[in-house]
């Protein structure tokens, strides 16, 4: 297992390096950050001075070498816009996003699995059909539209929940989070639900399909014949077997939630990383974009690794080794 993890980490390093190459040259093809940053009243001398100050007068290869040198010292460069280290900016925005992703993942599990189980166990019932029909809506309606509808419904008309921003934070167990305050939770509910809808739909469909398939398997029939109580058959024998695809999908989705919850964060003005990424892209804040995407690659590699480990716990037949290795 140790060898497996080490090999995975080395692969990750290569991926991150290639990624930095692609992203760095990619973002440098678009526009010129100076045009986005500078006051329109500035004259030519001032524009020139700023280009030099940001290091944009140098050839791109030299800029990249300089960037690599920084990375070797743990420095991802400074944001053009904020003048602060890119890494620091990203880490500042990380807690808000993690909180949002965790709550939305929790919603997907807590709502999606029971609903999917129900729909799988009683496929002919009207309720099951309703669940399945709604699940299609869950992942086919555009997030942007659903977000605005949630705001219109719950904030503007009903006035129950705040429409925008992150709530008050508090420190608990050494972690500062808005999960610990009522105000924080009330701010979190709508964006988390908006983000969770797709995944709830996905989990419902996966659980239902898993249940429908597993119910006809020999081991379930055997458990029945043995006279095991229904809750034990469903809770242990069935669940364990349908969880594998769900864990895979949720693992990858968690990465997606962390990295690309751009739309939801924009609509709800949630001060997370997704919003930072889209703002940086639009304003050509190259160091932040590059650092962000490199961190995301690391994140995905880590999540995949975790998923593999959870696999091996859920299904002892799975051994940790690279395919073909």
């Amino acid at each position: 297992m140790t060898v497996f993890i080490i090999r995975r980490l080395m692969q990750a390093m290569i991926v991150v390096f290639l990624m930095s190459l692609i992203v760095f040259f990619g973002v440098n093809v678009i526009g010129n950050p100076v045009d986005m940053l500078i006051n329109p009243e500035a004259d030519q001398a001032e524009i020139e001075r700023t280009i030099r100050a940001l290091g944009l007068d140098k050839p791109i290869a030299e800029q990249y070498l300089f960037f690599l040198k920084g990375i070797a010292q743990g420095d991802f460069g400074k944001s053009f816009i904020f003048g602060e280290p890119a890494l620091k900016l990203i880490l500042q925005h990380l807690p808000a996003t993690i909180e949002l992703a965790l709550v939305s993942l929790l919603m997907a599990v807590v709502l999606g699995i029971p609903l999917g189980l129900y729909a799988g166990l009683f496929p002919e019932q009207g309720i099951s059909r309703t669940i399945m029909a709604s699940s299609i809506l869950g992942f086919s309606l555009p997030t942007f539209w659903v977000g605005l509808m949630l705001i219109m419904g719950f904030s503007v008309y009903l006035g129950w929940l705040p429409s925008t921003g992150r709530g008050e934070t508090a420190v608990f167990l050494g972690i500062e989070s808005s999960l610990w305050t009522w105000n924080g939770l009330s701010h979190l509910l709508l964006p988390a639900l908006n983000l969770a809808l797709t995944n709830i739909g996905l989990v419902i469909r996966l659980s239902r399909a898993g249940v429908r398939e597993a119910m006809h398997q020999e081991y379930i029939k055997f458990a029945r014949a043995k006279g095991l109580p229904t809750h034990r058959i469903i809770g242990v024998h069935l669940m364990k077997n349908i969880m594998i695809p769900i864990v895979t999908v949720l693992g990858l989705e968690f990465g997606n939630l962390l990295a690309f919850s751009v739309v939801t964060e924009t609509i709800f003005a949630w001060p997370g990383m997704g919003k930072l990424l889209i703002d940086s892209l639009l304003q050509l804040d190259r160091p932040v974009v590059v650092a962000y995407l490199m961190i995301i690659v690391l994140l995905f590699v880590a999540i995949n690794l975790l998923v593999d480990i959870v696999y091996s716990i859920l299904d002892p037949r799975v051994r940790l080794r690279d395919q073909g290795a």
Partner: protein, 527 residues
Amino acid sequence: MNRTVKTRALATVAVVALSTPLLAEDLTIGLASEPTSMDPHFHNLTPNNAMSRHIYDTLIRQDETQGLNPGLAVEWKPVDELTWEFKLREGVTYHDGSAFDADDVLCSFVRAPDVPNSPSSFASMTKGKTLKKIDDFTIHITTEAPYPLMANDVSNVPIVSSESGCDATTAAYNSGEASVGTGPFTFVSYKPGDSIVLASNPNYWGDVSPWSTVTFKPIKSGPARVAALLAGDVDVINSVPTTDIATLEGREDVGLSQGTSNRVIYLHLDHGRADSPFVKANGGGDIDNPLRKLEVRTAISKAIHRDAIVERVMEGVAIKAGQLLPNGFFGVSDQLQPVEYDPNGAKELLAAAGVPDGFELTIHGPNDRYINDAKIAEAIGQMLTRVGIKTSVETMPRSVYFQRASRGGPEGGPEFSFILVGWGSGTGEASSPLRSLIGTHDPDKGWGASNRGRYSNPEVDALIAEALQTVDSAAREKLLAQATELAIADAAIIPLHYQVNTWGVRKGFAYAPRTDEYTLATGVTKE
């Protein structure tokens, strides 16, 4: 906390409690774009400058229409050709209790152009000026040539404390440690992307704000900003999307506050190149750039139905334009009217210019910079096609557009032939657009930095140059108006309309609209 400090703090609290009106209330403002720093000298751009006006003062203030009023300077006047004298306000204290004097001004002018990593510095406001302290409350600012725009420049430079501010880093400002000014609000907290909180300064030398705390929330998405206003989560928002204005007007629980901005939306045409890349003969062949003929430029102006753009594209929220700045600004001409829509006249002019059947043209514009910019470009494309100039429309994000429009061509010149752009006058008078858009492109002089059509007219240049050296206001105003008239008659640029800025407020609140697009808590009143 030691005992004396504690007692003093308590005493301050007591004073605050007594001196603040009983009506003291909280205010929440939703902003379309967020300041990038709390350092007032870090980034010379509208969102930052608007925010810094809360915590800091400038020597001279700009009012709602960018008129100049006393700020930290009570009076200013030229004492000779090259020297301006500023008398400073006495008895002003910083938020930390230290006193304001001439040293603060001197060091602020040193710091402003020279903040490390600044993406856009204040150098254009401070350059060429030498400051000298005469006594604690008098300073002289000298220039090498007569400089009438002194007051306008000075009104843009925030003054920080020589004790805690001048040597501080941007990070120290962002943490609040160095965010100490003389302004109407004090720093409470800054969480990038989340909120900025300020509190009323009870010892302010001017009118003490009735808002005990002000929270700014960045809400970039237009629909979300409107929803936050409707839900009552914010009391004021800026940049109400034009598509929502009609809906909001029909509601009782919100109000709108509108005012003309200093921003003109205009078309720039390629005056410089004989062979312009996006101008083609009918059928795609080469053609001697017809945009260099006055008749063709005038024909384009006449072919544009400005009323239709204002009514349909801008939903009535714009004012058609005939020059560089709306009426009421310093240096505008009272002779110039918006060009009337006259498609037949346009066709006649095209025939007179030797292109009776028109030509092929591409208009380039941004699609995320100005209000409805892409839609305006499309409307113009259709209008020009109607008179025979077959115009295709290409719009792109501003991150790509401005680089190509300014420097995308060979040898770092402009790439496009015919572009849609906007210009807001930061100084609030006509020399800003004249010098940057119409003055001959000359990096050494710093002229024509945004002259993306490379227009060049020695007569206009001479008038601008004379105006920029004329300290007498009346004479300068006349020269600026003359230069504008000449440039517009020559169709150096084709003005379309002035933007109108719209703020949304909850019932019971009011906002005094500003031409400079700043959103200031001091402009919000409770009805």
